[in-house]
């Protein structure tokens, strides 16, 4: 039985680490991008960004001042038992998010969409967002905390219902048009990690795009070779656009392009795009059945 206290404190610590640490795969990808860029401004954008994260990791600030939407992705096993039942995951996430905000690791950014009133601690209807899935027969919990920046979410979200006759050409055109618009003047803070959902219902399609952008190690190809080939073709196409870091002249508009697919209606071809910004903040925690927590930035 995993205690409420263990879950709440682990959610706090995973979110705090995500706000002040650059994940190792993202850092490696940014260094690869910097080695490729030749335009001085493109290189400067990356150099400054890496220096900024170095300061954050040294306790002098945050990886980015927009700590965005507080998201938790939780995976439980079939034998996992949680004190008070699984519903307490939401209560723990609210408490942890309020505490991380009070300690100034998250900015109070979540507001009422109509009155625009700010509760001051990022907690209210729907937020923080907890996505719970079950996988395997384990007895622990995996908790990924992602403070997802506004730029990538606000300017990097696209959905279109295509039709079977639109085929691969239609998918490619939609994804590339989306990336072109999203990268203009650095709106999504490129080089971005771009998630694409193909198929499913509308909500599943967007969820696949989001999870492809946030949860997959940067550049890891999809296990289905048909999908991996599409990922490769699209990424190569983005490198010819002439858009670099923060919308400058360059090669790296995109660090990684990840596609997820699901069955869909025989009449439909839904496609969704969701981007993650260049700092790709996320941190993973594992809680064992006895409540012991371990943390890691490497998701592979």
């Amino acid at each position: 039985m995993i205690s409420y206290h263990a879950i709440e404190s682990t959610m706090y610590e995973a979110m705090r680490r995500a706000a002040v640490t650059l994940p190792p795969d993202v850092e490696a990808a940014l260094h690869r991008a910097m080695a490729e860029e030749t335009d001085p401004l493109a290189r400067e954008h990356l150099h400054v960004s890496l220096e900024n994260t170095r300061l954050a990791m040294a306790g002098q600030g945050l990886v980015c001042g927009d700590t965005g939407f507080p998201l938790y992705f939780v995976t439980a096993g079939s034998r996992t038992q949680v004190e008070g039942g699984f519903a307490t995951l939401w209560k723990a996430a609210q408490s942890a998010t309020a505490r991380v905000t009070d300690d100034s690791f998250l900015r109070p950014t979540m507001v009422d969409p109509l009155s625009r009133a700010n509760p001051g601690h990022n907690v209210g209807p729907g937020m923080p967002k907890v996505e719970l899935t079950f996988s395997g027969d384990g007895d622990g919990l995996e908790i990924l905390a992602a403070p997802k920046g506004g730029g990538s979410e606000i300017f990097g979200t696209f959905y279109r219902m295509l039709f079977p006759a639109d085929g691969e050409a239609g998918i490619f055109k939609f994804v590339l048009e989306s990336i072109q618009a999203a990268c203009y003047a650095g709106k999504i803070c490129p080089p971005a990690i771009v998630g694409v959902g193909i198929g499913g219902s509308a909500d599943l399609c967007m969820r696949m795009a989001k999870e492809a952008a946030v949860l997959r190690p940067v550049g890891q190809p999809h296990p289905d070779p048909r999908v991996a080939e599409m990922e490769h073709k699209l990424l190569q196409a983005t490198r010819r656009m002439g858009i670099g870091p923060m919308g400058s002249r360059g090669i790296n508009a995109v660090l990684g392009l990840h596609i997820e697919i699901a069955l869909t209606h025989t009449a439909a071809l839904p496609v969704a795009v969701n981007a993650q910004c260049l700092v790709g903040r996320r941190w993973m925690a594992s809680i064992a059945a006895d409540g012991a927590a371990t943390y890691r930035g490497d998701l592979s």
């Binding site: 400067e44 220096e51 927009d66 900015r107 039709f163 072109q180 923060m246």
Partner: protein, 219 residues
Amino acid sequence: MSDAIRHLQLPLSAEEARSLTLGDRVTVSGPIFTGRSRFHIRAIEQNIVPPLDFQAINCFFHVGPVMRRQDERWEIVSIEPTSSIRFDRYSGDVIRKLRLRTLIGKTTMGPAAAEALREVGGVYLTKIGVCGNQLRPQVKKVHGVYFLEELGKTEATWVFEVEQFGPFFVAMDAHGNNYFQQLSADVASRMGAIYRDLGIPDDYGWTNVDATRKPGDPA
């Protein structure tokens, strides 16, 4: 574009603003004030602006800083410029209303803002990389905060004294030019070949299911 960084003193004169070129690297020193969406909406729709001498405090920094209250004093945790293009509905009117000659943010602003900057003699500076922790020690003093109760820490207007704040680069000059306009046209000119190599013809259109369209309407 010059590699040397120009160090500008605030408030910037219209003459100095007009001497700046797209791509110039600059820092600014002097008083600045902050705001985001709520500032813009309230300034134009409700005529509510903080009681500041905008000719003395003339540099508008688009940001929602992360602030911490420490021993009765405000301390900055991080101060990352936010996307200025979001304020497009109001940017031009705010620039004219407050006679702004320096704006700092992320991304760019639209044609109405470009025209307002040309009229007033002002420039728009945009950030280089993710830079909020490097900007933080360049803020030498928190002069004050306005509308904190109503708007919260993120949307409130903060007044700071900054020293060699930056560097930023000139993304819109005082003559109506925008750094990203030419760049965007260059990108657009490459897309045709990229699409063709993926087997997408120039006249490709997605299936149009708008039953009300007339024959001959574009797909």
